[in-house]
């Protein structure tokens, strides 16, 4: 078990080393391809280390801790840095390392047209992200977790705004940063409140404290709620989900890595890691579950009306994150975590496949695509694998974890959320196959080729460097699915007998409905839109949430900034300017003492002597 600690440490620090080298050695970074290879090789080494660490740490419920004291205070140490290695942590580590490695390899092909300096910058950020995310996963206490949390948010900002010359990308990056920051403020408050109550940041110590019970835990509800708010921001729960679709302005590999598999799952992972705290506050957990299920349903409806393929996937990610949170809210964090792992695999796959399509066709609009299955068969196959996983069809990875979540919701007693989740499952299958039918099957679109790409007429499969990660992920998705079907892990509960058929049936129904509408064109999509116009219209406006946030930002935040700026300029600076004007005037007046006539100076001397004599002799 000790080996796992060191291996985890190495897996964590190696990308950090790559980041340092790339950021400090400027010629290496500017050279582009060599920087990329450095980052890729290091992430491969981290992956190997993570796998071996996971093998050594596979005994559940045993934790390995390595700490170094960091901030000393009067009696003892305030907080430490280090690693806390559990079986689940190493699994997450593998996910991060694997997806990071595959995405970096993929990016070499996707961003092949970038100037070398930009490419170097990209891989520097990628290394920093991998380092930060692993630090978050392995964090033994809240402080290190929060620091890595913020670092990960920073990398998200940097990578979303990678093409910073585009104003939409810059805006999206700022938006993501702002909204997650709002959650982070509450997170920080929660951490500090927890520390003021218990005196420690450390997870292991807190666990002991909770097991022992006691009065220190009174009022924990507010603390866990604040911590949840931080997770809600990062994991795009309603109403904080608005930043994730806009984050698609970044390059597609970035979306695959950060906004599908790793960063957005940090919130889920946080709740999973601190589940022992949340167990003490069932009300907060119920809220988590309800909000999660609602987010799942909301995002699913929004995904049905998107024409941008990446936005469909983005809303799908929000929806699946809602699923994970719902499972945690039901009290079965393990189910949520399992879905996190499987979702990470197939969502990354879907994004990378979408990236291959975008790279080939030159546009994100699914209505400008069509018949791609014939021209890009390999991409079609892997996309289909991902889609079937997402829809929850047996033999694919997502089926088992999704079913676990549904059973968890049912077993946890959250019936209305359960219903929402079932409806969301139907919609999930529907909107994913909508994309399949419109973009891959069916007739090619009449629309002209997009700019920058080869055009639909010349669409072809991705080059090997992009295809290889796709195949690896697809194989993994299928492999996990088959493995779970044969020897699935012990569930903490037994699902009711009718659950599995319900889940499968709902998914199949969704696929069939999509086929009817978009495949056979038996039901008109437009008529459907009119029937449900009240949802459809609202969905098109994204339920006006973005507008609300923009309003708050412009009016409240910028307004406050402007008024504070006014105070600074006119009052603070004004006082200083008045003081300096007075000083200048006083100096001007005082210089009249210098008359230039010696007799006046003698006058002054005599006066001084007189005063001195009076002062010396003044009776005490």
């Amino acid at each position: 078990m000790a080996v796992s600690g060191f291996l985890a440490l190495w897996a964590w620090l190696a990308p950090g080393l790559a980041f340092l080298i790339l950021s400090l050695v400027v010629p290496l970074r500017r050279s582009g391809k060599p920087a990329a290879w450095l980052s890729i090789v290091v992430s491969l080494a981290a992956l190997v280390a993570a796998v071996v660490a996971a093998w050594h740490a596979r005994v559940p419920d045993v934790a390995r801790r390595m700490l170094w004291e960091w901030i000393p205070v009067e009696d003892g140490v305030l907080t430490s840095v280090g690693v806390l290695v559990t079986a689940e942590a190493t699994l997450m580590l593998i996910l991060v390392a694997l997806v990071s490695f595959l995405v970096q390899v993929y990016s070499l092909g996707y961003l092949a047209d970038e100037p070398p300096a930009s490419l170097g910058r990209y891989y520097t950020y990628q290394s920093l992200f991998t380092f930060s995310m692993m630090g978050l996963v392995l964090a033994p206490n809240f402080v290190q977790l929060f620091i890595c949390w913020e670092l990960v948010g920073l990398c998200s900002y940097l990578l979303i705004g990678y093409w910073y010359q585009r104003p939409e990308a810059a805006r999206a990056a700022v938006k993501a940063f702002w909204i997650t920051k709002a959650g982070d403020v509450f997170f920080l408050i929660g951490i500090v409140m927890l520390w003021s109550r218990t005196g420690t940041f450390d997870f292991a110590e807190l666990f002991e404290l909770v097991q022992g019970g006691g009065e220190a835990l009174a009022g924990l509800g507010l603390v866990t709620f604040f911590i949840y708010l931080g997770a809600a921001g990062k994991s795009a729960q309603f109403p904080f989900h608005v930043w994730l679709p806009d984050a698609m302005e970044g390059p597609t590999p970035v979306s695959a890595l950060i906004h599908a598999a790793t960063m957005v799952t940090a919130g889920v992972y946080l709740l999973f890691r601190t589940a022992f705290l949340f167990e003490q506050t069932p009300d907060v957990l119920a809220a988590v579950g309800w909000i999660g299920a609602f987010t799942a349903l909301l995002a699913a409806t929004l995904a049905c009306v998107q024409s941008d393929i990446k936005r469909v996937l983005a809303y799908s990610t929000v929806s699946q994150l809602g699923y994970m949170m719902a499972a945690i809210g039901a009290g079965f964090a393990g189910a949520g975590f399992l879905h996190l792992l499987t979702h990470g695999v197939f969502k990354a796959l879907l994004f990378l496949a979408a990236g291959a399509v975008i790279h080939a066709v030159g546009t994100n609009d699914i209505h400008a695509m069509g018949g791609l299955a014939r021209r890009m068969p390999q991409t079609f196959i892997v996309f289909l694998v991902g889609t079937l996983s997402l829809a929850g069809i047996p033999l694919f990875a997502g089926f088992f974890s999704k079913e676990e979540i549904l059973s968890a919701a049912w077993a946890g007693g959250l019936t209305v959320p359960f219903g929402m989740l079932v409806l969301a499952a139907f919609l999930t299958a529907f909107y994913m196959f909508r994309v399949v039918f419109i973009a891959f099957l069916g007739a090619p679109a009449v629309a002209s080729a997009g700019h920058g790409g080869h055009g639909e007429a010349h669409a072809h499969d991705a080059p090997a460097i992009m295809a290889l990660p796709l195949w690896i992920l697809a194989a993994l998705a299928m492999g996990i699915g088959i493995w779970f079907s044969i020897a699935h892990p012990e569930a903490e509960f037994v699902p009711p007998a009718w659950l599995t058929p319900l889940a499968v049936g709902v998914a199949v129904a969704g696929i069939a409905f999509a086929w009817l509408v978009y495949g056979l064109r038996a039901i008109s999509g437009d008529r459907l839109f009119e029937r449900f116009w009240w949802i459809g219209e609202a969905a098109m406006e994204r339920f006006w949430l973005d507008d609300l946030f923009a309003l708050v930002y412009r009016r409240v935040i910028l307004g406050a900034s402007r008024s504070i700026g006014w105070v600074d300029r006119y009052i603070v600076d004004g006082i200083l300017n008045v003081l300096s004007a007075w000083t200048l005037t006083a100096g001007d007046r005082l210089r009249r003492i210098q008359t230039g006539q010696a007799q006046d100076y003698v006058y002054g001397v005599a006066l001084g002597v007189l005063l001195l004599m009076v002062w010396m002799r003044w009776p005490k």
Partner: protein, 99 residues
Amino acid sequence: MTLQAYLTLAAMLFCIGLFGVITRRNTIGILLGIELMLNAVNINLVAFARFLGDVSGMVFTVFTICITVAEVALGLALVILIFRIRRTAVADHLDLLKG
């Protein structure tokens, strides 16, 4: 007479000299006032030397007299030089040091 009497005399002389320095417009008049002040100092020194039995007070007086003589000589030479250039001896007009 008592020491106090001499000292009082010297103090009065000093203040009269000071009055002259402050109020006179002509530069030479100012120098005359300075002379009076130095005179007062000399009386002081000699009185103390006599009443305390220490002769070094008188030696000091010799020094001050000599230095005063040198100073007056050169001071008046300067006044004459300034006359040549500025055509005025009124101290109020010599205000190049005005700040």
